[in-house]
Symmetry: C2
Subunit: 123 residues, 2 copies
């Protein structure tokens, strides 16, 4: 079954990337809200910290749906924060820099390998 | 220690998002190469499938560094593929669509919750 699933994935769709990005900003928002609560509201921090531990924010929609039921004000705060963080990231991010970063890492890894395989002449 | 780490994260940096994006495209490239090998080269497919199982491609740099040592031609293929997939995604992706997708999901989750909490008058 695993084999079939992998063979069927020809990666002509990019919806998974977009979902992944949204999930990541939700995770980042959760961390940000946790950090704020730690400073400002220790008892809510402890509650939320435990909630995050019990309900991993990997699928952001499922995670927020659960949180909304338990503490709506915290869920709203996470939702506002993920949109805000995304907006801030957009201003800094550049496709060109990202393309160069991938390309540079590719070259760096090949260079590392080359150095490892080259035998220096013994003196 | 965990508490300290979280409290220190004020999310003013976005390097983590960029790293996450690169890791995700590496993971996507691995899946793509696996799908191609499954069709074209079953014995290499089995080898790579096991390698991926034993070395989870979560930190892409560590993963490729290990792969380069074992099978350089496969590592090169993954590296070329992740750059290629990223280039294709850039052409489809729009910050505005992504912003709207997050905003729409926020509203959808609040709407869901509203419907659940509204008590319909019994007849």
């Amino acid at each position: 079954v695993v084999v079939d699933e992998i063979a069927g994935q020809y990666e002509d769709s990019y919806e998974d990337v977009d979902k992944h990005l949204m999930d990541y900003f939700t995770f980042k928002a959760v961390r940000t809200v946790l950090a704020q609560l730690y400073e400002m509201n220790p008892s809510q921090y402890i509650w939320f910290y435990n909630f995050v531990g019990n309900n991993k924010p990997q699928d952001s929609k499922v995670f927020i749906r659960l949180l909304v039921k338990e503490r709506q004000e915290l869920a709203e705060r996470v939702m506002v924060t993920r949109l805000h963080l995304f907006g801030k990231w957009v201003k800094k991010y550049s496709h060109e820099n990202m393309y160069n970063a991938i390309s540079d890492q590719n070259l760096e890894l090949l260079r590392e390998r080359l150095i490892q395989t080259v035998k220096l002449p013994s003196d």
